[in-house]
Structures are given as structure tokens and as C-alpha cells.
């Protein structure tokens, strides 16, 4: 498949278009400093949701410790950029945070992903707590419960947008690669996949590690955009927030996650004054989605441009299919 085909071209145009629209809105003052924070929050949540979707949606495993991996990225970048307050420091922070998160995910994933069932959920929950407790007890390096402050403001929404696009493209290519298809087959039927010679543990672990690394990237942006991080920002509630985005968008749909992160991010601005009532609404929404429309907004489907194109020359495809038969 050529890289520069019609589908990729249209996606490229869409990405550039949304970037242009956002940039225009900022230049015209439609998005002021306050809404820019919302924008970056949406982009961070997008990265987190895409990462969690790779774990839950593709491999069918259930991780509840996404905030823990985000904390690893945030602290790695926070500590490094305080030493080297430049983009080199930030890049190093992203790489180091990603590597540590990946290693932790490997250590947790290999034993728990051998098992069938929802052991990963409970193990990741424990791991996120362990990460938080370790961060709390690392003394001057992490500054305990008070957290790190004065992290240089290195991230802009450009960086957030760029990384969100990179993560999205990476996840999309993963989904349609042979590794991704093997991972999805594990989700569909673990026993059947195993009998076809798919090393189920390996593919589950790959998806889990990828999710953890993207969470660390999101954490890095969070640290360098907001400048202040503390352990209690990365608690269980944060993991649930991300889970809500994934469930709303549709478990297994990347474009669903992108849409849900945007919609919920905008909705949050309007629901802010309601405080904890907002949480009640989210909880009720979460339960009713699971009961009435467990597939979420998009199900496992994607907003698929190539299918739009394909519709045009459907007749041609039919001919081809007949030939195959």
C-alpha cells in the first residue's frame, strides 16, 4: 500500500484543517487563554483515551491504572526539565518516562496477562496505588505529597496537538497491522486465537505496554503545561475519567475516543459549576451506556474515510470479490 494514497491524503487534510481552524480561532481571540487550557486538557485526555483504548478496545484487557503510568511520565519529565529547562530536557523526560512506564507495564503485564479473566484490572489498580505511594516516599526528588511545582512551561498546545496526532496515527496503524489484528483476535476469542497459534500473552502485553507508554507521554505534556504536579492528581478518579471517555466513544474505536474526549472536554466547561453533581451524572451515564448501548458512541467502528471512497466504486469491488470466489 502506498503511503500517499487517497485515504491518508484526506486524513492529512483533515488534520491540517483542524489545526488551521484552532490556530485561526486562537488568533482571532475566539479561544482565549482559559479555553486554551481546556484545549490542552482535551488533547491530553485524547492521548490517554487512545492509549487506554489500545488496551481495553484492542486486546480486551481491562486496565484501571492508567493514571499511575501518567504519573510516571509526569514526574520523569518534571524532574528532568527542572534540571534542564529546555526542549532537550523535555524530550529526555518523555523518553525516560515512556521507558520507565513501559518497563513497569512489562513487569506487571507478564505475570497477570498469562491469566484469563479480569485479573489485570485489579493488578493495575494495585500498581497505580504502589506508584503513587512510591512517589509520595521519594523524598526531595518528588517532594512527597506537596508535589513538584515550578516545572518550566515548555508545552504549548502545538506540542499537545502534534503528539496527539502522532499517537493517533501510531495507534491506527497498529490496529490495521498484523500485530494489531492478532491482538484483536485475542479480544474476540482467546481460545480460538490460541488454537490458531497466536501467542495470546505476548499480544496482550504489547497492547498493555503501548497503552502505558502513551499514558506517560500524556503525563509529560501535563507536567510541562500546568507546571504543578502532585501525587493526588493521578489517583483512581483520574483513571476512571479516562475510562469514561473510552466507554462514551466506544470501546475499540479510536475516532470514537477522539470525539468523546472533545465532547466531554467541552461539556466539562459547562458542567464545572455543578461540582460533584457532575460526577453523579457521569456515573449514571456510565451505567446507562453499559445497559442500553454498551458499544458506546461508535462501537468498534471507526470514522472511516476509505469506506466513503469505496462506496463510489462498489461495483468494481463486487466484481473483484466474485473473481476471488
Amino acid at each position: 500500500m502506498r503511503i500517499l494514497n487517497k485515504t491518508n491524503g484526506i486524513w492529512m487534510i483533515l488534520i491540517v484543517l483542524s489545526f488551521g481552524l484552532l490556530q485561526g480561532a486562537i488568533l482571532l481571540g475566539l479561544i482565549d487563554a482559559f479555553y486554551e487550557i481546556t484545549l490542552v486538557t482535551i488533547l491530553i485526555n485524547m492521548i490517554l483515551a487512545i492509549g487506554l483504548n489500545v488496551i481495553i478496545g484492542f486486546s480486551g484487557q481491562f486496565s484501571l491504572g492508567h493514571a499511575g503510568f501518567m504519573a510516571i511520565g509526569a514526574y520523569a519529565t518534571g524532574i528532568l526539565t527542572k534540571q534542564f529547562p529546555n526542549y532537550g530536557g523535555m524530550a529526555a523526560g518523555i523518553v525516560v518516562g515512556g521507558i520507565i512506564a513501559g518497563i513497569v507495564a512489562l513487569i506487571v503485564g507478564i505475570p497477570t496477562l498469562r491469566l484469563k479473566g479480569d485479573y489485570l484490572a485489579i493488578a493495575t489498580l494495585g500498581v497505580a496505588e504502589i506508584i503513587r505511594i512510591i512517589i509520595l516516599n521519594m523524598g526531595d526528588l518528588t517532594n512527597g505529597a506537596a508535589g513538584l511545582s515550578g516545572i518550566p512551561y515548555l508545552s504549548t498546545w502545538y506540542i499537545g496537538f502534534f503528539l496527539a496526532v502522532v499517537v493517533l496515527i501510531f495507534a491506527a496503524n497498529y490496529k490495521y497491522s498484523s500485530v494489531g489484528r492478532a491482538t484483536i483476535s485475542v479480544r474476540e476469542d482467546e481460545i480460538a486465537a490460541e488454537s490458531l497459534g497466536i501467542h495470546t500473552t505476548r499480544y496482550k502485553t504489547i497492547a498493555f505496554v503501548m497503552g502505558a507508554v502513551t499514558a506517560a507521554i500524556a503525563g509529560s505534556i501535563h507536567a510541562t503545561y500546568f507546571s504543578v504536579i502532585s501525587p493526588d492528581q493521578f489517583n483512581f478518579m483520574k483513571s476512571i475519567d479516562i475510562l469514561i471517555i473510552v466507554v462514551f466513544g466506544g470501546i475499540g474505536s479510536l475516532t470514537g475516543s477522539v470525539i468523546a474526549a472533545t465532547v466531554l472536554g467541552v461539556l466539562n466547561v459547562f458542567l464545572q459549576p455543578f461540582g460533584s453533581f457532575r460526577m453523579i451524572l457521569y456515573a449514571i451515564a456510565l451505567i446507562s451506556i453499559m445497559i442500553f448501548k454498551p458499544s458506546g458512541l461508535m462501537g468498534t467502528k471507526e470514522l472511516n474515510i476509505s469506506s466513503f471512497i469505496r462506496k463510489k466504486d462498489k461495483s468494481e469491488n463486487k466484481k473483484r470479490e466474485e473473481k476471488v470466489r
Binding site: 497477570t112 481460545i191 460526577m279
Partner: protein, 292 residues
């Protein structure tokens, strides 16, 4: 040595609470293979019901326990009927997410309606100390351990000797076969939630008295640890939950007593990872081959 015995007594009373909670997790998991995340919140609501009936109705400990247990038992059944029953046929992830949603709803609902602040639990039992030899047992500790043993004996009786208990065991082994034998699985599942939630309510009242403080977030950490206790003992196995609960309670108290209390939680979560690594079916669990 005396210190050790003292710690063991403390561990036993904390372990009783975990055991009561772990029983609820393990029974529900045994019967519908669901990690009932809302269980910790039911325990929290049990504590609040105890708080309100003691403060506003002025009742003693036993009526407060019974009222709280009946309230949470009914609540558990309602949750099961409304949120979990429609999902009986869908994927386990869907049920798990719903359970998290319910837990989130109860927690934030309580924060919204009663406020997030910490309240002190009314003391209906004066906290006197019994000195036996050179170590001390508080009246509260005795009360917790005795209540737990009475409740466990009751549960054991229901599961082993009654018709409903037999039905529970049958459904947990094979729900379809049980249905063919004329057992209504929905009724049995509701009954399981009824029992488990009642035990959680009792644990809530006991813990409120023991620690003298309650708040809407109190269910999260003990709920998680009780689940770990259930996994440690072998999830789905009733005696395993008791064993696991006491083990986690003792480990926790010994670490706070002899080591760093900050790492206590980390060690408990670490135990979970280790048990998943070396013996995922738990201490009392048997390895079951999956049928295709």
C-alpha cells in the same frame, strides 16, 4: 513477644473486617464472575446508616447493626436488579464497567447529599480495656471479633444447611444445570447480593465504631484490600475469603507495628501481584482447566 501478641490481637480485629467484606466479594464472584466494585461503597453506606440510626433514633449497637445490615442488604439487591441483571448476557468488561459506575455513583451521591467531611461515629459502647496477663484487649476489639464469628457461623449455616444455600452452591458450579433442576438463578443471585451486602453493612458499622470516623470515601481502600484478601484466599471460595481477610489484616498490622506504616498499602498491593504470579487460584483454590 508481648508486643507481638498485642499486634496479633489488633490484626485479628482488623482482619475480621476484611474477612466480612471479602466474603461479599467472593460470593458474588463465585456466582456471577463479577468483581463487584460497589461492595466497598455498600460498606461505606452501612457505616452511614449506623451513624444516622444511632444519632437520630438513639438505638444501641445490636439494633444499629441489624438496621444497617437490612438497609444495605436491600440496597445490594436493588443494585443487582437495576444495574447488573440487564448485563447478565453481555461481556464481563461491560459488567465490570457498570460495577465501577455504581461505585462512582454511590460515592459521589453520598458526597453530594451528606457532604465530603469526616464525621465522628457516636460511641454507643464505652471503650474499656481488658487486661489479660500483660497485654490488653479493648471491648471494641472483642465485640468486632465476636460479631464477625457469629455472622460467619450464620453464613456457613445458610450456605451448608439451608435449601437456599444448596441452590447457591449449585448455581455457582453450573448455573444452567441448576436452572434445569428447577432453581431460579435470578433469585439465587439476588439472595447472594442480599447476604454479601448485609455482611458489608455490618462491617461498616463495626469499623465506624472501631476507628470512630466515617466519610464517603472510606469504602475505596478497604474494599480494594478486601478484594485482595478474597484473591489471596482463592476467589469464589468462602473459607478462603475468611483466611485471606485475616491474613491481610495481620500483615497490615505487623507492617505498621514493626516497619514503615507508609509502605503498608504498597505491601498489600504487592502481595496481590505476587499471588497472581505464583498462585493465581489463591491459597485454597484448585486449578481448574477451562472447557472449550
Amino acid at each position: 513477644m508481648e508486643n507481638l501478641i498485642q499486634q496479633l490481637i489488633n490484626g485479628l480485629s482488623l482482619g475480621s473486617i476484611y474477612a466480612l467484606l471479602a466474603l461479599g466479594y467472593t460470593m458474588v464472584y463465585g456466582i456471577i464472575k463479577l468483581i463487584n466494585f460497589a461492595h466497598g461503597e455498600i460498606y461505606m453506606i452501612g457505616a452511614f446508616v449506623g451513624y444516622y440510626v444511632i444519632n437520630y433514633l438513639g438505638v444501641g449497637l445490636i439494633p444499629a447493626l441489624l438496621l444497617s445490615m437490612s438497609f444495605t442488604a436491600v440496597l445490594g439487591v436493588i443494585i443487582e436488579r437495576v444495574a447488573y441483571k440487564p448485563l447478565r448476557k453481555s461481556s464481563r468488561i461491560a459488567a465490570l464497567i457498570t460495577a465501577i459506575g455504581v461505585s462512582y455513583l454511590l460515592q459521589n451521591g453520598m458526597i453530594y447529599f451528606v457532604g465530603p467531611e469526616v464525621r465522628s461515629f457516636p460511641q454507643v459502647v464505652e471503650n474499656s480495656l481488658y487486661t489479660i496477663g500483660s497485654f490488653q484487649v479493648s471491648k471494641m476489639q472483642v465485640l468486632i471479633i465476636v460479631t464477625t464469628f457469629i455472622l460467619m457461623a450464620g453464613l456457613q449455616f445458610i450456605i451448608q444447611k439451608t435449601k437456599m444455600g444448596k441452590a447457591m452452591r449449585a448455581v455457582s458450579i453450573d448455573s444452567q444445570a441448576a436452572e434445569l433442576m428447577g432453581i431460579n438463578p435470578d433469585l439465587v443471585i439476588s439472595f447472594t447480593f442480599f447476604l454479601g451486602s448485609a455482611l458489608a453493612g455490618a462491617a461498616g458499622v463495626l469499623v465506624g465504631m472501631y476507628y470512630n470516623s466515617i466519610n464517603p470515601m472510606m469504602g475505596y481502600a478497604p474494599g480494594l484490600k478486601a478484594f485482595i484478601a478474597a484473591v489471596l484466599g482463592g476467589i469464589g471460595i468462602v473459607p478462603g475469603a475468611v483466611l485471606g481477610g485475616f491474613a491481610i489484616g495481620l500483615i497490615e498490622v505487623l507492617i505498621s507495628g514493626y516497619g514503615n506504616s507508609m509502605v503498608r498499602d504498597a505491601v498489600v498491593y504487592g502481595i496481590l501481584i505476587v499471588i497472581l504470579l505464583v498462585r493465581p487460584s489463591g491459597i485454597l483454590g484448585k486449578h481448574a482447566k477451562e472447557k472449550v
